[in-house]
């Protein structure tokens, strides 16, 4: 309906324009101005240049100021503060250049509109000016490059030794996360072992896989380095958590990684935003098919104690899917039962029986 109104409105405007135009043409023919090179329209166009400049600058300035809190999102990671800082420095520099050049462009267009009495100034060249406006942008850009690259280096450098390693798997159209369990090591995987239950293709001939657990939500500790090991199973996806300023493609056949330190727990963020329903979300940022826009996983940033507590509560994937015990080589079965805690469970069951 809204759309229909717009269309009808546009049509009316068009009809009006055509009519007005026709009248102008006829008037022009009568007055003999239709063959002149400089018509009164020259002044109108020159004036509109300035009007356009002023109106657009004020509207965009107003919107940028008033809606600042809506289009800027809070930062919740250590490196996010760095990249955002860089963003705003660049905004400052380019903002100044933007305003100066646009003002000159529209200002000159207005000021030097055609005037019979003032011929144009024949001024083909000036080596010094060219050098000036080559060197100055080069210096400014060099400064931006240097600060940018030092930040990039920090963000993409190797993860700290003590980083909490979590594996993220993207597939059409959802995410799965896997934690290394008590032994702190993610078990091996092979894509040929993937099936409807074993979505990571965990290889149970590797004993470090026994205690890996796969929760429904992504939990991470606050103020502690976390390293995401990122994989994709079918097509390219991309891990994106806006508040962390975190983005990395998930590529089939080529594991990628991203490390960061979250600085605000979910609770803290809820208080800061005064929004009790706030949740961090993991989104897909690389076109991946029909459900691309719905690939979401909740992310919970816990305090250190909450995180450890939550982790302790998690049961290994193997213990939840005991039928996969049969895939374990005979000599490792005992170990698997111990590592997954299934031995005590089994005993408890026996006792209760």
């Amino acid at each position: 309906m809204q759309n229909l109104v717009i269309l009808v409105g546009a049509l009316f405007v068009l009809v009006a324009i055509v009519l007005v135009h026709r009248i102008f043409v006829l008037v022009g023919v009568v007055k003999g101005t239709d063959k002149k090179r400089i018509t009164p329209a020259n002044k109108w166009n020159a004036a509109l240049m300035v009007v356009f400049l002023l109106v657009t600058l004020s509207i965009s300035g107003y919107y940028s100021y008033v809606h600042f809190d809506e289009y800027t999102i809070p930062i919740a990671s250590e490196h996010g503060a760095l990249t955002d800082n860089l963003f705003w420095i660049t905004m400052g520099v380019t903002g100044v250049v933007f305003i100066i050049t646009q003002v000159l462009l529209f200002g000159f267009s207005f000021k030097y509109q055609h005037n019979e009495k003032k011929p144009a100034f024949y001024y083909p060249d000036n080596g010094k000016l060219e050098a000036l406006w080559t060197i100055v942008p080069a210096i400014v850009l060099a400064a931006l490059i240097i600060s940018g690259l030092s930040t990039w280096h920090k963000v993409t450098g190797p993860a700290p030794e003590n980083a909490e390693v979590i594996e993220i798997l993207g597939y059409q159209f959802a995410w799965k996360v896997r934690y290394p369990g008590a032994d702190g090591q993610l078990g091996k995987h092979d894509y040929r072992l993937i099936d409807a239950d074993n979505m990571f293709g965990m290889d149970f001939s590797d004993k470090t896989a026994f205690d890996d657990f796969i929760p429904r939500e992504l939990h991470i500790p606050v103020n502690r380095p976390v390293e995401f090991k990122i994989r994709a199973r079918d097509v390219i996806h991309s891990v994106f958590i806006p508040q962390f300023r975190l983005k990395m493609d998930a590529v089939p056949g080529m594991p990628t990684r991203f490390h960061f330190t979250a600085t605000k727990t979910t609770e803290e963020m809820r208080r800061e935003l005064n929004d009790p329903k706030f949740n961090y979300e993991l989104a897909c940022n690389q076109i991946c098919g029909r459900g691309h826009f719905a690939m979401k996983m909740n992310v919970v940033v816990d305090s250190e104690e909450d995180y450890e507590k939550w982790k302790a509560e998690q049961k290994s994937w193997l213990s939840k899917n005991p039928e996969y015990l049969s895939r374990i080589p005979e000599e490792l079965k005992e170990l698997a039962l111990v590592k997954t805690g299934m031995d005590t469970e089994a005993e408890a069951n026996e006792n209760s029986l």
Binding site: F52, D84, A120, Y123, L141, G148, W152, I194, S238, N285
Partner: protein, 619 residues
């Protein structure tokens, strides 16, 4: 002088020869299988306009979805059929097909073929003083390969599984596996075939442009006297020749992966309940190959627009272009650098971060020549005597859009900032301003400026003004708000934003953008009317409507095959002698065409020109 004499004689002979042919022109050889560069240029233009309407219309449909997600789209069912779900909504997969085809069509068919194809063909022989392209037959083939490519692409829009829908870059594995998205079935095959044909067309055209510019310049037309339009077409053609074959390679390997079980791009994939046998391939390889064309492609669409703007701004501010040599230098710089910045599209693709370092450095360097160009435009306008023709307006608009979109490139080229902005609406805003809109404005400037030469009639300038202002306001209303949406983190290619808290805002701004897009699209009807109406009913064009210096305005108002009825004029000066001091004493107004010898302008000659004359006399 002797070389000049023989050349002229040869040309005269040529001409007699051409004249002989002209009498035998029938409908088919004149309008369809023409080998005349002017007709081929017009064919590219009209085909480009057709594709612009299709590409624009596709964007209208997905903007409805994005701006008014609750709208009942039942009324488009007659066109889209089952791509409208029983609930009256757009099918999410067809949404992806729409954005994919919008991108492909606009980038390749409109802004490459429609812009470069039109004006390189039309202007190169006319502005360098040649009878036609080096090979008229190859030129004709170039158009017909493009036409064929278009037919295949158009048909792919109507097949049951839908056209390609993995984004205009069509990254594998998504584009390689029909299980992943239905558009990767027959639609993708047709996309690849169409692109292969398009590449053939582009190469045939580019080789011709390069050869023509190098070999067929008229007497006196040294490289330093070429209009900047020709320089831009020449460099564009060089970029095309060097980069398009790489896309062909990428497409070929993808064809193998899709049909012949190879694993160039595929590795360790589990999809649709089965593990595929391919291992060892790398999807990143495709990205490198694609962007090795994909980035230079940006300059393939932009450079001709900048060349046209240089010419139009200089002519209509009645001033020489400021820093002619710096303009050529910066275009050369852009040409070379355009080949070494491609991986800035891949900062978060998982490639080695060290590559990110290198490509940040190289990418931001390319901002320097771009900045030089902007400053030179501003200096050209400074103390000019500006005549606002519709072409002037579109050129000034181009500079404004080029600044706005160029500056946001400095954010995106910096890898650390790109982490957050990558593939968000900030990127959409950036490239639609700097590449899409700026090039489109260049195309429009060119059409308004050379329409009188093309069709012997004037376009209505008042309608041109209205068209410009509505379009200019329109594109800023469409693309400026996208920056905010992008800073807020909204990702591209999302069918709807309702699933995420983080992306739940800005429905008002999205609706505004969609309304503005419809507004801008409808405003193009003014142009369409003006274009086709003026072709038949416009006021008859004078010989040189814009008082311009370049050679094309010395041809008859409607030049025949061969361009000049007599000898090809020789050239004695650069094309930017506007408002030269003392020109009035030599009997000239505020312009001295390239064909006027220095000996006829003793009062206005500059010291270096006097020296040149002395040298000629001594010889």
């Amino acid at each position: 002088m002797s070389t000049l004499d023989t050349q002229t004689a040869a040309h005269v002979e040529d001409h007699a020869h051409d004249d002989h042919h002209e009498h035998h022109d029938n409908f088919w050889t004149k309008y369809i299988f023409s080998t005349d560069h002017k007709m081929i240029g017009k064919q590219f233009l009209v085909t480009g306009i057709f594709w612009a309407i299709i590409g624009g219309a596709l964007s209208m449909i997905f903007r409805l979805q994005l701006g008014f997600p609750d709208m009942d789209l039942e009324w488009i069912r007659p066109i889209l059929g089952n791509w409208i779900t029983p609930q009256g909504k757009l099918d999410p997969e067809f949404y992806l097909a729409l954005v994919t085809m919008h991108g492909t069509i606009m980038v390749f068919f409109v802004l490459t073929a429609g812009l470069s194809g039109t004006f390189s063909n039309y202007l190169i022989p006319l502005q360098i003083g040649a009878r036609d392209m080096a090979s008229g037959f190859m030129n004709m083939l170039s158009y017909w390969f493009f036409f064929l490519s278009g037919v295949v692409m158009l048909v792919s829009l109507f097949i049951e599984t839908g056209p390609a829908s993995a984004g205009w870059w069509n990254y594998p594995p998504l584009s390689a596996l029909p299980q992943a998205v239905s558009g990767s079935g027959a639609g993708m095959t047709m996309w690849l075939v169409a692109m292969a044909l398009f590449i053939v067309s582009s190469l045939l055209g580019s080789i011709n442009y390069i050869t023509t510019v190098i070999n067929l310049r008229t007497a006196g037309m040294t490289l330093a006297r070429l209009p900047l339009t020709i320089w831009s077409f020449f460099l564009t053609a060089i970029i095309g020749v060097l980069s398009f074959p790489v896309l062909l390679a990428a497409a070929l390997l993808l064809i193998f992966d899709r049909g012949f079980g190879t694993a160039f791009y595929l590795s360790e994939i589990y999809i649709g309940g089965e593990a595929l046998p391919q291992v060892g391939g790398s999807p990143i390889l495709y990205q490198h190959l694609f962007w090795f064309l994909g980035h230079p492609e940006v300059y393939i669409v932009l450079l001709p627009a900048l060349g046209i703007t240089s010419e139009v701004i200089s002519t209509n501010s009645r001033k020489p272009i400021f820093g002619y040599r710096a303009m050529i230098g910066s275009m050369l710089g852009i040409t070379i650098l355009s080949f070494v910045v491609w991986a800035h599209h891949m900062f978060v693709s998982g490639m080695n971060p060290f590559l990110g370092t290198i490509f940040t450095l190289l990418t931001l360097i390319i901002a320097v020549p771009s900045a030089v160009k902007v400053f030179n435009y501003l200096a050209t306008l400074w103390r000019g005597n500006i005549v606002f023709t519709p072409a002037t307006l579109f050129s000034i608009g181009l500079v404004s859009l080029f600044i706005s979109g160029g500056l946001t490139g400095i954010f995106l080229g910096n890898s650390a900032i790109d982490i957050q902005l990558h593939d968000t609406y900030f990127v959409v805003a950036h490239f639609h301003l700097v590449m899409g809109s700026a090039s489109f404005f260049g195309l429009m400037a060119g059409v308004y400026h050379w329409f009188p030469k093309m069709f012997g009639r004037m376009m209505d300038s008042r309608l041109g003004y209205v068209h410009f202002w509505l379009t200019f306001i329109g594109v800023y209303m469409v693309f400026f708000p996208m920056h905010y949406i992008g800073i807020a983190g909204f990702p591209r290619h999302y069918y709807s934003f309702t699933n995420f808290q983080a992306f739940s805002g800005f429905s008002d701004l999205n609706a505004f953008v969609s309304a503005a897009a419809i507004f801008t699209f409808v405003a193009q009807l003014i142009f369409l009317f003006n274009f086709f109406y003026s072709m038949y009913k416009g006021r008859r064009a004078p010989q040189n409507p814009w008082n311009s210096n370049t050679l094309e305005w010395t041809t008859p108002i409607e030049p025949g095959h061969g361009n000049w009825p007599g000898a090809i004029p020789a050239v004695y000066r650069w094309p930017y002698d506007y408002s030269k001091p003392n020109a009035d004493k030599d009997g000239f107004e505020d312009f001295i065409p390239q064909t006027v010898p220095l000996s006829e302008t003793p009062n206005s000659n500059l010291p270096f020109e006097k020296e040149q004359m002395e040298e000629v006399k001594q010889k």
